[in-house]
Amino acid sequence: MSKVLVIAEHDGNELNPSTAKTISCAVTLETDAIDIVIFGQETGTVATQAAEISGVSRVLIVDVASNSNTLAAVLAPQVATLAEGYDYVFGPSTTFGKDLMPRVAALLGTGQISDIMEVIDNQTFKRPIYAGNAIVTVKADTTKKIVATVRVASYKESQKDGSAATENISVSADVPSHTRFVELSSDTGERPDLQVANVVVSGGRGVGSKENFDLLFNFADKINAGVGASRAAVDAGFVPNDMQVGQTGKIISPDLYMAFGISGAIQHLTGIKDAGTIVAINKDPDAPIFEIADIGMVGDLFEVIPQLNDQLGS
């Protein structure tokens, strides 16, 4: 008998795909039930989307005003209370899950397994260390609850053909007021989300300026791609931090990743290792990114992108 509780990630309107990926990991455990819990306020659509994920037994909704923002200090005591009836508590290894889950684990008096990339059996998991330069197999003590984050780049979203029951519940927990949400600023436009996009076009220091990034944005829009950047491009102020791909940014797994003017520092390569096909265009024939690219071309991105623009896209 083992039961899994998965903490849903959402923005109040939409369920984040990280949730369906976390479910994909959870279903590889031998379990009797996998429940999703949604913390929020008026999260009707989110609950509907969660109920459609196949493999889910029940969707629990904790709908109170104080849950309208995802503050770890507010959510963690509620998760810890709910965890009572479960053997596993999983969240995604996004900034949401990374912030929340260790706080939950500590309240439960247990350790955490970060970034599960593979389930070997109900107590044994693989996870990356040293920025993915080594993979460890970790065996957990099953006399305690297992709290973990799931490395979302290692899993595809679970199918959406389920019809789980949804249930409003109340959780009694002491919710602190010492942490308050102020604001969230993001530059999300119509472009596909980096962590979901099938195709990602990405630029590095070689792009040269904020203005030049428009070349990438236009090309990305033409082929319906998400846009990412290397740390060098973010640090140089060309693009905002939420576009950073790599060890300290987003770890992504698109079907196709096209890197323009990115040399391929190890920290960047860590973020794209799980991509299906990697294309690299760089002026420097010795750029390390060519060592891992499936298709490489030595060339000037300012000449290549306009040509690609002509030959690709509708």
Binding site: A73, R103, V104, Q112, V182, N241, G296
Partner: protein
């Protein structure tokens, strides 16, 4: 604010190429350069700036690990920390135990703020700050890229997947630093000399009454499967046809 506590972890330097031992028992750490975890160095830099701007009176650094950690603590002192505490242990300390040990120091020192890196670049766990905040029953502001002072609280900008989130946390609190919080200063030779005279206290972990026995057993270490070097094309036409061959119709 009276004191700021900064936690420093000794890790393999970020420039070292990590190799898994042939018998899969670990990664090679013998003879490799060791440093302060880069995110912790950023945390220390932020604490030092707070003191320099008059927000804090004292900055002290804490590390957990073997005697060798004194090197990293001395580097922290050379950067400008006032004193150092080493919680000495030869065994592996997991994040929960680390948080429990650090809580003991918090109870003794009563810092107004605890700063740590958002993750250690060796095990990449990203757990200790959040666990410490939970055990201390205080706020956490993880992945911080900007910290501003209000009267009894901080306004912290956090780097999250969706962009930048601003939260307000009452003090005392735990803040974990992200890359863009600041650029740490370089240590100058006279500072290294001065650091040798600064106090460094050693406390055996066994004296702190925390169960540090590992809860997880690492059964093997493997090198990741490398991506093979692919095809080089000469021009855009070659690139487009290579993409088509892979099944992409863009």
């Amino acid at each position: 604010m009276d004191k700021v506590m900064v936690c420093l972890k000794r890790v393999v330097d970020y420039n070292v190429r990590i190799r898994v031992k042939p018998d899969q028992s670990g990664v090679v750490t013998e003879g490799v350069k060791m440093s302060i975890n880069p995110f912790d160095e950023i945390a220390l830099e932020e604490a030092l700036r707070m003191r320099e701007q008059g927000h804090a009176q004292e900055v002290f650094v804490v590390s957990i690990g073997p005697d060798d950690c004194q090197q990293q603590l001395r580097t922290g002192l050379a950067m400008g920390a006032d004193r150092a505490i080493l919680l000495e242990s030869d065994g592996e300390i997991e994040p929960l135990a680390a948080a429990q040990l650090l809580l003991k120091i918090i109870e003794r020192e009563n810092p107004g703020l605890v700063l740590l890196g958002k993750q250690a670049i060796d095990n990449d766990c990203s757990q200790t700050p959040q666990m410490l905040a939970a055990l201390w029953n205080r706020p956490q502001a993880t992945f911080a890229s900007k910290i501003e002072f209000n009267e009894d609280s901080l306004r912290v900008t956090r780097e999250v997947d969706a962009g930048l989130e601003v939260i307000e946390v009452d003090l005392p609190a735990v803040v974990s630093s992200d890359l863009r919080l600041n650029e740490p200063r370089y240590v100058k030779l006279p500072d290294i000399m001065k650091a040798k005279k600064k106090p460094l206290e050693t406390i055996p972990v066994a004296d702190l009454g925390v169960d540090t026995a590992p809860a997880f057993e690492v059964t093997s270490y493997e090198a990741p499967t490398d991506r093979a070097k692919g095809l080089m094309v000469d021009d855009v036409a070659g690139l487009v046809s290579a993409l088509k061959e892979k099944g992409f119709s863009l």
